[in-house]
Symmetry: C2
Subunit: 376 residues, 2 copies
């Protein structure tokens, strides 16, 4: 059934030319005569030839047109969207991507990176699993394969990175809650030992102290960065003697869980308790109440990371570049700020029970992109 592959030689034979000429046609070289080109293309169609990139990649000058993408949790829509953004850019650039999910397992991560390396990727974008070390990228960078780290930084790694401005975003979100009159603001979800969580918590603390509020450690409740974790976190937060009236959540998944948990105890998010998320996944817009959140634009971030990688692949230069993408606070209903009325059935009244100056409406970009160069 599976007859032996059709190769350039077969095409050459059928078209009455040499294999070199066929190769030139395949590369759309201007050197070849139009009639010859037509003949060759006809033969290609006729015989059902498929280009064998593996063979072409053997010549050491060639680039494989394959990149690797490694993410730590594809079931989290933030990372799924990140991957989709990368996919868009890579497809358009004629690249095809290996994608692997590590599920936060360092071992799996090591394995898939090794495997991708054997298959000859010409670049890698990775959202590293917790506990990833700079040494994990060493073999890759040593052989000149550019690496872009996204979302989570890896200390000491001489690779490019694209992170978001977690500190500024968290600070802006917290300031917003303060401007709405909240004085007891919790920080819910996430693990304290991760860099991302640390940065967001720092922004949260900065805003509190700038407003002269003291950072009560009991208001910080760690949990898994998931919807279920959010439910657990708000439950624990409500046990505190002096209850919080609002919360900045580690990410949107946690924020949704917090909303679920509030409802389960008869509290309506937005009206009885201010909730702010982080990431701005698609569902944040359509949820009821719509989630006030810090927009990181995961798809855009994915696209941008892909562009960074492509630039490095094409330039041949491996120059590590650290970019911190700006984020913006998107004010919707869940924080309790007064915004446009909601048009589904009865009019939504976003008024809070704290009766303060109305907060910002719409969105607000925080900080600007910072970029710094570094020799690899």
């Amino acid at each position: 059934m599976t007859k032996s592959r059709v190769t350039v030689v077969d095409i050459a034979h059928a078209a009455g030319v040499s294999k070199s000429t066929v190769s030139l046609v395949l590369q759309a070289s201007p050197l070849v005569n139009e009639q010859t080109r037509a003949k060759v293309n006809a033969a290609i169609r006729e015989l059902g030839y498929v280009y064998n990139r593996g063979a072409a990649n053997l010549r050491q000058t060639a680039s494989s047109k394959i990149v690797g993408i490694v993410v730590n949790d594809l079931t989290n829509s933030f990372f799924a969207e990140l991957a989709v953004g990368m996919d868009m850019v890579m497809q358009s650039a004629g690249f095809v991507q290996f994608l692997a999910n590590t599920g936060e397992s360092i071992d799996r991560q090591r394995e898939v990176i090794a495997s991708m390396r054997e298959h000859g990727i010409s670049g890698l974008i990775i959202s590293p699993a917790r506990g990833t070390e700079a040494a994990d990228f060493k073999p890759l960078t040593a052989s000149g394969v550019p690496v872009v780290v996204v979302v989570r930084n890896v200390a000491g790694a001489k690779v490019s990175s694209l992170l978001s401005d977690n500190r500024a975003g968290a600070r802006a979100a917290t300031e917003h809650l303060i401007s709405l009159g909240h004085r007891r603001i919790a920080f819910l979800g996430g693990f304290a030992d991760t860099a991302v969580s640390g940065e967001r918590m720092q922004g949260y603390r900065e805003a509190l102290s700038a407003a002269g509020l003291d950072a009560d450690a009991s208001l910080v409740v760690n949990s898994a960065p998931s919807r279920a974790g959010g439910v657990a976190a708000i439950e624990r937060a409500m046990l505190i003697s002096e209850r919080p009236t609002a919360a900045l959540c580690f990410n949107d998944a946690v924020a949704f869980g917090v909303c679920d948990g509030l409802r389960a105890r008869g509290l309506e998010p937005g009206r009885d308790f201010g909730v702010v998320g982080f990431d701005d996944v698609i569902e944040a817009q359509t949820a009821v109440p719509a989630l006030t959140t810090v927009s990181v634009d995961p798809q855009g971030m994915g696209r941008r990371a892909a562009q960074m990688l492509l630039k490095q692949i094409n330039s041949g230069r491996v120059e590590a570049e650290a970019t911190i993408a700006s984020v913006r606070l998107v004010v919707r209903q869940s924080c309790g700020a007064k915004t446009k009325t909601w048009d589904g059935g009865k009019t939504w009244d976003g008024g809070t029970s704290h009766d303060t100056a109305p907060g910002d409406t719409g969105s607000d970009t925080v900080g600007t992109d910072r970029r710094q160069h570094d020799r690899a």
Copy 2:
């Protein structure tokens, strides 16, 4: 910087053996002497050798250890989980996967399949974009590459398929709502022209007619199969003169949107209106109220599809096999059935306003797997 690649010949030289011996060591052949093996392995570590699979794949007997995975919408958590399931199995089997998102674009799909083919995939799993035709797989199957179609069937394609029993699932879900006393049950979301939607609607109609209820066409409201689509669908459904009291939703995303829309007009899902979803994505469990849904187990389905593909790759025989996976109804809170009390704060009372016999509690598997063989 990027010195020329280290090859088997370099290893052979360093270890004082021939390249053939190195090759045998790489393949863990029992033919080679233990001491020699040790020497070679030492040299491999020493020189930082990386196996070049591309070169190995040139020999026509070899299999590439690469599979392609094509999904129509990775931002939908159903498909993200499907992909994660496949990833798990493929990683364990030592395969690496190209993953591409088509976003329902037939053109993108054609491009990525062609691209993957050039890179030498040894199998493909695809959740086809709307409008995919049997001819789109022809080039692949003609060259002996096994293809497994998941989730959506492609009429006339001589490839393996793994679908879920949509008809039986929808029927069971509808019967459940009927047993709770509902008489006006809507079918919300999805596009009527897709096979999956058609099957689910068929199950819905069967249950209605079996119960002697007439299928009022105005109770079927199409919309995008997304959360936003669900909001839109319930809004339109509430405009019907004789309002529905419950709804079977095309999928979980729509069901969540329906819950959002209900709340926006002051109705509480589960208490004031019965909502049933389809798919059982992870959030269905933790949402409040927890979503009653037909569990398709996307991760399990992904794993199963991957196993089907691997079996075909390893056997060498391309024998099309059509499997229809059974589904089970998981009764939680959103349908209004009496279940275990909810333990978050005040006790949850799931009683409906329709005061009928209590529905099933727990889950219920519908039908059994059907399998049929077919020559390719």
